[in-house]
């Protein structure tokens, strides 16, 4: 046993860390919605890239109406509006879109209540400019952020959407 331990050297440490991280990533990607492409598990090209197969959508409902918008890749309405923004507002939106990209890669970890609240409030703030016809009054609001996965089935050559993860919050 001692002899075996002697073979181990300090410079083997990164290899053990690499192995642990890769196994962790494999468990997270197999059971907890992390994409196989990210996180140091070397699983790229074993499933479609999240950039081309995962979509983050927000749905806001209140008695006045309903908004269904794509957060990532950003819906044209949001995208063109952000482009025109300036200053802190633009920075806030850029951060929200950046975070939605993290949600796309690892929904279970990155989709937090705080994020849902923030993005819903920002959307309600600009809903007149986006012509979404939603009043920001005191009515209760139900917000649902969900991640959709595109699945291709080789047997019948079909491409379907499937909900990968979702979170609902009343604000």
């Amino acid at each position: 046993m001692r002899k075996r331990l002697k073979i181990l050297k300090i410079y083997h440490l990164p290899l053990f860390i690499a192995l642990i991280l890769a196994i962790t990533q494999f468990v997270l990607s197999s059971n907890f919605t992390l994409t196989r492409w990210e996180g140091g598990g070397f699983g790229m090209y074993s499933e479609p890239n999240p950039n081309s197969s995962r979509i983050v959508v927000i749905s806001i409902k209140n008695p006045d109406g309903e908004i269904n918008l794509r957060l990532n890749p950003p819906d044209n309405k949001i995208f063109s509006y952000i482009k025109k923004m300036k200053g802190k507002k633009k920075d806030d939106w850029d951060k929200l879109i950046e975070d939605s990209d993290r949600i796309r890669r690892f929904p279970k970890y990155a989709l937090t209540d705080e994020y849902i609240r923030k993005v819903a409030n920002e959307l309600l703030d600009i809903n007149y400019s986006l012509n979404l016809k939603m009043r920001s009054n005191n009515n209760p609001i139900t917000v649902n952020v969900y991640v959709i996965q595109l699945k291709l089935n080789i047997k019948d050559n079909s491409m379907q959407t499937q909900e990968l993860y979702s979170k609902i919050l009343n604000i």
Binding site: L15, F42, G43, Y45, P48, R102, L152, I154, N157, M159
Partner: protein, 291 residues
């Protein structure tokens, strides 16, 4: 005189370590690969090492580089490409060997061999546990949507581009849906033979990666064959994937595990690294010739 002195200065140093820093410089040029603030830490160090290659065996330089690369993983975990994970492990291995004063070449060779085997092994594990991959769906998805280009497809199905056109419009349509209900579309394809082709290609990929991993585990036994398998895997896969940096990193590891008498193999690795890094700088993506 000046030039020959300059070149001598480089020759004396470990050329592959120098290429590793060139690889880091190229990585900082890509807007998405490294965390913004880490770029400003890594770039000056890498340039310094390339200009003064005498620093290549300086453990303090390697320690700083390793710390910065870990910072990048920490702040950018969900956006860091896998080759930067490999670069981080490699950098730490070099640092620890230099600090512990073990025999540099041998220690680096053994560690890099296992690192390479781990990369290939995990790639196999992911592929055999992903139903989308082993069913051939993933490959056909990529080809039918033109997300990847593989030249034999055009030879087998000359009008394949028209299928891509049509599928792209279906794909765009899906992205513009409201998503309040499930969507089910049928893609157009050349037929049953194409799916068999995708399936065979998927199985071949798994098989090839597994073989490379097994040869790496018993390395240096069959050392020539191992390098031939590794480099042919890199070149074959390179033709239909967008992985200039990942394959450069694999070549760096391949070179490190090679022996001094394997001059041809080493030259091949160096040429491949230089070519792929140059392609990366000019933005050439071999697997995306069409789009």
């Amino acid at each position: 005189m000046f030039i020959s002195n300059f070149l001598k200065r480089y020759k004396k140093q470990n050329f592959i370590l120098l290429l590793f820093f060139v690889f880091l410089i190229v990585s900082t040029l890509n807007p998405y690969r490294l965390e913004y603030f880490v770029k400003f830490l890594i770039l000056p160090i890498s340039i310094l090492v390339v200009v003064f290659p005498v620093l290549l065996k300086e453990w303090k330089i390697w320690l700083l580089t390793s710390i910065f690369l870990v910072l990048n993983l920490f702040f950018n975990y969900l956006h860091t490409s896998n080759h930067l994970f490999i670069a981080t492990y490699f950098s730490w291995i070099v640092t620890l060997i230099l600090i512990s004063k073990h025999d540099f070449q041998d220690s680096l060779r053994i560690s890099s061999k296992y690192l390479l085997a781990l990369v290939m092994g995990m790639a196999v594990v992911h592929k055999i546990t992903s139903p989308e991959f082993y069913s051939g769906s993933f490959m056909s998805f990529e080809f039918l949507l033109g997300l990847r280009y593989f030249f034999p497809i055009i030879l087998l199905w000359p009008n394949f581009n028209s299928y891509i056109e049509e599928n792209r419009s279906i794909y765009t349509e899906i992205f513009n849906k409201n998503f309040d209900e499930e969507i089910n579309y049928n893609l157009v394809s050349p037929g049953e033979e194409f799916f068999i082709f995708s399936k065979v290609l998927s199985f071949l990929t798994i098989f090839y990666e597994a073989i490379v991993m097994l040869f790496l585990l018993v390395y240096p036994k069959y050392r020539r064959l191992t390098h031939i398998l590794l480099i042919s895997f890199i070149w074959f896969t390179y033709l239909y994937t967008n992985e200039n940096s990942f394959f450069s990193m694999l070549c760096i590891l391949g070179y490190v595990i090679s022996y001094e008498d394997q001059k041809k193999i080493r030259t091949l690795y160096i040429l491949t690294i230089i070519l792929m890094l140059s392609m990366d700088v000019i933005g050439f993506r071999s697997g995306f010739l069409r789009y």
